[in-house]
């Protein structure tokens, strides 16, 4: 009973993450990579992403706060961030990164700052959702 409920919960959460556009196909790639040799692969990757992206976010903050703004460097950081987030299937985050880079190319400081807020927001939202989701997945797999 419990197990079924948990599994249903997992399935439903998962579906909603995709339906609401938080995750895309790339996340499925991660799921498919998970196997007996790497039973926690998805969790590991997500954890790694969030650790690394924190660093990137700090770099971008710094670059945005410096005057004059080095748009080149900003673009570079964002490029990395985008590559990273896209690799785990963080769809909304990636989209915000794309928007940011457009402002960056236009050297629109205001736009960059605003856009970056969006990036951070999406980044945080997804982090929370994934934490809950993966916890549920863990619980479901631990249930007999």
């Amino acid at each position: 009973m419990d197990r079924n409920r948990l599994h249903n919960q997992v399935a439903s959460m998962r579906r909603s993450l995709f339906d609401q556009g938080y995750l895309d196909d790339q996340f499925i790639q991660l799921e498919e990579l998970q196997d007996d040799t790497n039973p926690n692969f998805v969790q590991e990757v997500v954890t790694l992403f969030y650790n690394d992206s924190t660093r990137l976010i700090q770099n971008i903050e710094q670059a945005l706060n410096s005057r004059p703004i080095d748009f080149c460097k900003l673009d570079d950081y964002m490029h990395q961030f985008k590559g990273s987030s896209s690799s785990i299937g963080a769809k909304k985050v990636t989209n915000e990164c794309t928007a940011f880079r457009e402002y960056c190319n236009a050297e629109n400081a205001e736009g960059c700052i605003r856009s970056f807020q969006q990036v951070k927001q999406e980044h945080a939202i997804l982090k929370r959702k994934l934490e809950v989701y993966l916890q549920t997945v863990r619980q479901a797999s631990q249930t007999a």
Binding site: Q29, L33, L48, D52, Q80, S86, S87
Partner: protein, 525 residues
Amino acid sequence: MKNSSGGKGSMSTASSITTWKADVVPVPDQFPAGLRVLVVDDDPTCLIILEKMLRNCSYDVTKCNRAETALLKLRENRNGFDIVISDVHMPDMDGFKLLEHIGLEMDLPVIMMSADDGKDVVMKGVTHGACDYLIKPVRIEALKNIWQHVVRKRKNEWKDLEQSGSVEEGDRQPKQSEDADYSSSVNEGNWKSSKKRKDDEDETEDRDDTSTLKKPRVVWSVELHQQFVAAVNQLGIDKAVPKKILELMNVPGLTRENVASHLQKYRLYLRRLSGVSPHSCNPNNSFMNPQDETFGPLSSVHGLDLQTLTATGQLPAQCLATLQAAVLGRSTAKSSIPMPLVNQRNIFSFENPKLRFGEGQQHVNNNNKQVNLLHGIPTTMESKQLTSLRHTSQSIGNVNMQVAPHGAQSSQNNSSLIEMGQPLSRVQILNDSTVPLSVGQPIVPNGIAANVSTRNGIPENIRAPGYNLVSQTSSILNFPMNHASELPVDSFSLRSTPGMSDHTSKECRHDIRRLSAFKLSSRQP
């Protein structure tokens, strides 16, 4: 994909420089499982995902988060990887720079990756020689087929190896008058970076007549060439037209085109030789068949036992032939040597080369280290000089050694032949050497340069010493040396030993060109 065996195996042993990667290739029937991939990406998330994906493809994965580390790994274990996948944007080194390095040093297929899918970036990948470009995020499906790049590359390499067989026709048209027309079939594989070099038009066109290549090529064997020369002489070099030559030669299966292209090279050779003074032409005669009594007095010009050297195969027959042809050409023009003296049969005594290039092929294969980089380059060296050169020169003679019909100097010459990989500067030590040394020079620089440049991307670093020595040699031999190194290229494609990459030959040609540019400043009467 072929397993490391037979030809390939011998290829790797044939040259220390070009170790065939197939030696450590995964078991063929499991291919592409076990494909050894090096993946480079500074993004840890991407890196771990890629690693897992590649592992799931049953590949053997090594990951690096820095380009420098990747290069280090590659350098430490040149044959340890089959393919490299690298991100474009990396903090310590631009991905394209890494791509260049890998192409130059290891000549492995490299796949670039980036989140950037802009046309410019992708184009940059193409121009820098990447064999593929993946847009991030990379899906496992994209990685499943990367083995094709490995196979393709090896297939091309193998094809080139197979081409390095008999005496080539030297079909390549010389680009400019200065072009050293080496059509040495080389192991293109390891030196594919040569594509990036300036001399990248001299693609080897040598074909093994037993190869499975599409275009059948005429193999200009010793006899065939002698027939050719005889016909040309009979007609007179100025009046020799392909049609008439063909008629005179009367060789079934030979086409006018074959003759025409051969003639073109021959003419170029002669033209190049025409810069030689009549006097300097004389010794060329001595390059002829040692058995030819007619040229006995010439054989010891400048104390060089050219005949012996030739006999022992030290003098690439093609060089000899070309030299002789030059002499022939010259003699008709200015040389005091009457035509009759030029034994046409001997002018191009391909005897040795034939052995060398024909049967020598297997010898070459058996010779681990000898890469016959400079075919046709007269390596007329006195035995003592040869000995002194031993340690510095690539032993072209190794090839010759196998086939050298004459005993005395054979072994000596062989061993004294240029040994690969020695810095050319060593040759300078032999400053007091006579012509032979200088004669050998081109081989050394060319060979070494080829190898060195191929390996380290440092072209032509050997040339200078060669020049030094050249200046000390008699102009007679200098000339042939300088030019002979090109002559064979002109008229007779030199089959390079397997292991010598196409790049190497190109570099050689380049070197030879430079050598030939060296003025015969020290012409001695």
